[in-house]
Structures are given as C-alpha cells and as structure tokens.
Symmetry: C2
Subunit: 186 residues, 2 copies
DNA sequence: GTCTATAAGCGGATAGAC
DNA sequence: GTCTATCCGCTTATAGAC
C-alpha cells in the first residue's frame, strides 16, 4: 500500500488549491510540498495544471461527501442530524482553521468563467453534497422533490456560512446556520 | 466631474478581481482595461497590488450595500422585501452572468490567510451587508439581537446560493434561497 | 503627475538524458 | 518512470525622463 508520486501530487494539490486557490498556487509549490519531481507531474498529468486541478477537486469532493454522510449517520432524525453536522464543522473549524480553507469554493470562483473542465468538476462536487443531504431527508420522510430542493438550500447555507467563517476567522456564522436549520426544515 | 486615473484604476480592478480573483488578475491587465499608465498606478497606490485590492474591495462592498438597501426599500415588510431582493438578484443574474462574478468572495477566499489588510476589508464589507438586512428587520419589529443574528444567516444563505449559481451557471440556488426565506424568518 | 523602459523573479511547460 | 536543465511569457515593482 505505497503512495505513488501521482497520489502525493494530487493530495498536495488538493490542500494547496483549497488554501490559496488555483492561481495562487504554483506548480513548483505543489512539487515541493509533494516531494515529487517535475518530470512525474507531466508524466501523470499530461494536461498540466488544469488536469491536476480537476482531479484535485474530484478528490476533495469525494472526501467531503464521505464526511457529510458519516456526519449525518450520527443521528436518525434528519433535522437533528444536519444540525449536528454543521455544529461539528463549526467546532472542528475552531481548532485547525489555518489548515483547511473552504473546500472547492476558491477554485470554483476563480475558474468558473475560464475553464469548463474545472467548473464542471466543481459543479459535480456540489451536486454530490446536495444528494447526501437530500438522501437523508428522504429517509426521514420528506417528499422527493422537497428533499432535493432542501438539499440545495442547505448546501447554500453551509457554503455561505463557511465562506463567512473563514473570512472573518470566527465560527459564528456556522453556529448560527446550525441553529436556524430547524426553522428551514419545518 | 472627470474620472481620474485613480478612479479608473479602482473600478477596473474591482471588476477584474470579482471576475477572476486576486491572483488571477495581473496588474498589466488592470492597466490595459483602465487605460491608465503604469506610472500612475504606483503613484496613487504606493503599496501596489495589495492596496489596490483593499480599495477595490471597499468600493465593491459600498456598491453592493447600496444595492441591498435600495432593494429592501421596495417593500415595507422585511420578509417580503428580502425575498424580493434575492429574486431580483436571481433574475438579473440570468441576464448578464458573465459580466459579474460573486462580489468579494473570490478575493476573500484567496487572501484570507495571507493578507491581513485585504481580509479585513472583506470582513468589513460582509458586516455592512449584514447590517443592511438587520436594519430592515429591526424596522419590521424584530428584536435587536434576533435581527442581527438573522442578518448573518441571510447573508450566509445569499453568499452560498450566489456561489452555487455562479459555479453551475444556473440561478436555481438563488431562486430556492428566496423561496425559503419566509420559513427562516418565521 | 504622467509615461516608458527595464529589472528581477516566478509562472507553466518542454526536451532530453538516464 | 524519474529527474534536470532550460525556455518563454508574464508577473510585480522600480528608475528615471519628461
């Protein structure tokens, strides 16, 4: 179970893109961080930085979705589960703020109008998050179309609260999002 | 009432930073777009790109806040006013999506951990948006602490919905945010 | 105050040895 | 598959003429 240069490149890129965005992260920085040689980068990712970004976004999105699903499994009731998940995010954010960033968001905003492959990867990622929430709501008895709608609304709320918490260095927006979830799902 | 080089630089920078983010926008691009000469840039903004970004964020934030206030003045009831404002944003976004971007957000995400002056400017901007919403809620009879809380929640919701709409090229997230505002303010 | 020329460095990408 | 050397373009920033 060894980690290849390819894996090391993607995971380093995922971290750095999330922290500094797409244009703010140079390939040299990714190479240094990953310990991989430049030759390997273009061997594994012939389309260069853009391809690396697409795969990084996909990896990040899978991790986040898995984390959402794990979080929502903690409680049976959907409303409590979603509320608890956001609170959990708020709490763990308080600890290692500096090492995280907002998943996908920076890359999405920077590249949406200029790289269709990256934009599509971000869109798919977001759809995955929404599905995870909708799935939980379905299981809790919400009607299908309503559950899908609320998946989008909850995702909006979390992304926005995360953006504000990250920018201000204060987890209050996330805590308030959690607090107001029950009203939204009423 | 002529527009100075300084004004032209800031307004060009505001547009480009919003569309492409901080690191994705070069000074040369800003200069070309504004028509100002490079000498003027460092004459008016001795601290260079960082200072230009701070002032651009401030300008953008003022415009957005003014637009929020104008939007909220359209209806007397706070709930209807906020809902209407988000719908208005969703509709106008449908038209000229490509020329806008999400105000402040890209710059905030890219620079929060690496430039304190820019981060602070973004934070102040967001606080202004929240005040505008809270003010309207106060006038509509909401209790002070509740109004301030909801200002943050509404701002989160809008920012997140805007991010998703921009990334997916579809205004559905904004429309759903508007639709679900009444439940939130219940 | 305005403009040009240029410095110094980093960006992404490639060639070619091994 | 791995690594180095290198190219070219664009970046921020500065110097100095006008």
């Amino acid at each position: 179970m060894k980690e290849t240069s390819r894996d090391k490149l993607i995971s380093a890129a995922s971290r750095l893109f999330q922290l500094q965005g797409y244009h703010g992260t140079g390939l040299n920085h990714i190479l240094k961080e990953s310990g991989a040689p430049k030759g390997s980068l273009y061997y594994y990712f012939p389309d260069g930085k853009e391809q690396l970004a697409v795969e990084s976004v996909q990896l990040t999105a899978e991790h986040v979705r898995a984390r959402i699903e794990r979080g929502l499994d903690q409680k049976k009731d959907a409303v409590e589960a979603i509320q608890g998940f956001i609170e959990e995010m708020a709490n763990q954010y308080q600890n290692d703020r500096s090492q995280e960033g907002v998943p996908i968001a920076a890359v999405a905003l920077e590249t949406a109008l200029f790289s269709e492959p990256i934009r599509t990867a971000c869109q798919s990622g977001y759809e995955g998050f929404q599905e995870a929430f909708a799935e939980k709501l379905l299981q809790s008895g919400f009607e299908e179309s309503r559950a899908r709608e609320l998946g989008i609304v909850i995702n909006s709320m979390i992304e926005g609260a995360f953006l504000l918490s990250f920018t201000t260095g204060n987890n209050e927006p996330l805590l308030l999002a959690a607090k107001n979830i029950p009203a939204l799902l009423k």
